[in-house]
Assembly symmetry: C2
Homo-oligomer: 249 residues x 2
DNA sequence: CCTTATTGTAACATAATGATACAATAATAA
DNA sequence: TTATTATTGTATCATTATGTTACAATAAGG
């Protein structure tokens, strides 16, 4: 794990990996009423990047995505879904990886597999912010949450990848019932509404929201939560239905 | 075009193509109240397959999908969308292509690029059945429409690819307004309802369907259509909004 | 001109959602 | 203890969308 990139780097032909194919994961979390994504800060570079990786030549592509997700969050059984393949020729830009390798003191040959054109399969994941344990990889200084409102400058087309992931999340939020994956196990109706409002980027009517959510029959009322505020205590709920990791992964 | 496969076949290393990456397109048509898909019948084989292809190393992936679509239907400006990446290791099966090459009198070396593991990007297209001109490729005897109800035995996991494409179409039908792409330019409300019923595989209420469709404000009433039947003639409609080929392709 | 099948739409019932109002209640201050 | 305050849970009514039935308006054909 820790020597992973070193192995990929010294492996000039990319033996053992599917060539030209990569995975990028947009890992969403929710904290302080803000949507966050996990980003890596690359060493010797001002660039930030999405957690990504390559696929072993005997590995399922979806499994590789889970592997990447687990290695950056220490979480398994997470909601994870493919959302788009980024395959434009204009993405092709070997400069960032070359810079990274040079900074590591390694001069790659021109035909190094990591410098060739890559097509990237975009996945998005929904994780419980409080449970994830962000872990940088070998070539990054840090792995941290960044609010969607204040993203740093990102490598290549990673900004567009995040944008498209968010669009997909917005479209899927009501259809599939996936929002709960971003909350802790127990939450108030206010937490849930705040999450929905943040993702959809619009205010929702409290009464109608509560009625609809309760009407779905997927929330179990647990107990009351005394926050210390001078007002009625809200109920805590938990999601009943099985927290399916995904449709088909 | 006609010598395309011969070039891919004699090109042992796959020079000029993205390695290990393929495209499979589920091309939907609608005729006689049935959903159809375009399938190729391979020479010297009882197997049928989805139209597919490879990606040039200087070509956008989406552009490659359009190229495949155009070469099998002689149509451009068609609704086309990515729907899933099929990347399980269990898909890996060089046998069919090897059989095809052997039947052509060509014995490929073991390391031939076409015999390696491929990940396939699934696209689905919605075309006007009356406008498409199905054209087989070099290694197939025929390119024809097959009703979804009576599909022949398909190569590899192509049956699952079709199933997943249909699921996606069903999910997208109401959200995006894409059904019109399967009809001729002018159609009756009955045609449209029949299309919806076929795709969704359920009966719809005529009055409610008509009210909803007209309420969308995307249909223009053209003229009446006298079919010769002993009854009131239905109006012909055409789709107003710009027939967008896709979201983002 | 009468029958027949089908279309377009009105009319009503039911369900879903938008909007407002208010009682319940947990802290705090008087 | 009691009043005050903020927030929650839900009832109520308004509006919109959808399900259902009914019926008038045709285009043939006898």
């Amino acid at each position: 794990m820790n020597k992973e990139f070193e192995q990929q780097e010294s492996n000039i032909s990319g033996e053992g990996f599917l060539p030209g194919l990569a995975i990028d994961t947009v890992i969403f979390g929710f904290h302080d009423s803000q949507l966050k994504v996990l980003l890596l800060a690359y060493k010797n570079s001002s660039l930030y990047a999405l957690p990504g990786g390559f696929i072993y030549d005997n590995e399922d592509v979806n499994q590789a995505a889970r592997r990447v997700l687990e290695s950056r969050t220490a979480l398994s059984d997470i909601y994870l879904e493919q959302f788009y393949v980024f395959g434009d020729y204009s993405r092709y830009d070997p400069a960032p990886l070359k810079t990274i390798m040079l900074a590591r003191g390694y001069t790659p040959p021109a035909n190094h597999w990591l410098l060739k054109r890559f097509v990237s399969i975009g996945y998005y994941a929904l994780v419980d912010f409080t449970k994830a344990v962000p872990a940088p990889d070998e070539i990054s200084d840090s792995c941290n949450w960044y609010s969607l409102d204040e993203l740093p400058v990102l490598m290549q087309d990673h900004r567009q990848i995040i944008d498209k992931a968010l669009q997909t999340l917005q479209n899927n939020l009501d259809q599939k019932l996936i929002g709960f994956n971003l909350l802790t196990d127990e939450f108030t109706m206010g937490d849930l509404q705040s999450l929905y409002e943040t993702i959809l980027n619009k205010k929702l009517l409290r009464a109608a929201f509560q009625r609809k959510m309760l009407g779905l029959g997927i929330l179990e009322r647990i107990a009351k939560k005394w926050t210390g505020g001078a007002h009625k205590a809200p109920y805590l709920y938990k999601f009943i239905s099985n927290k399916v990791p995904a449709d088909n992964i």
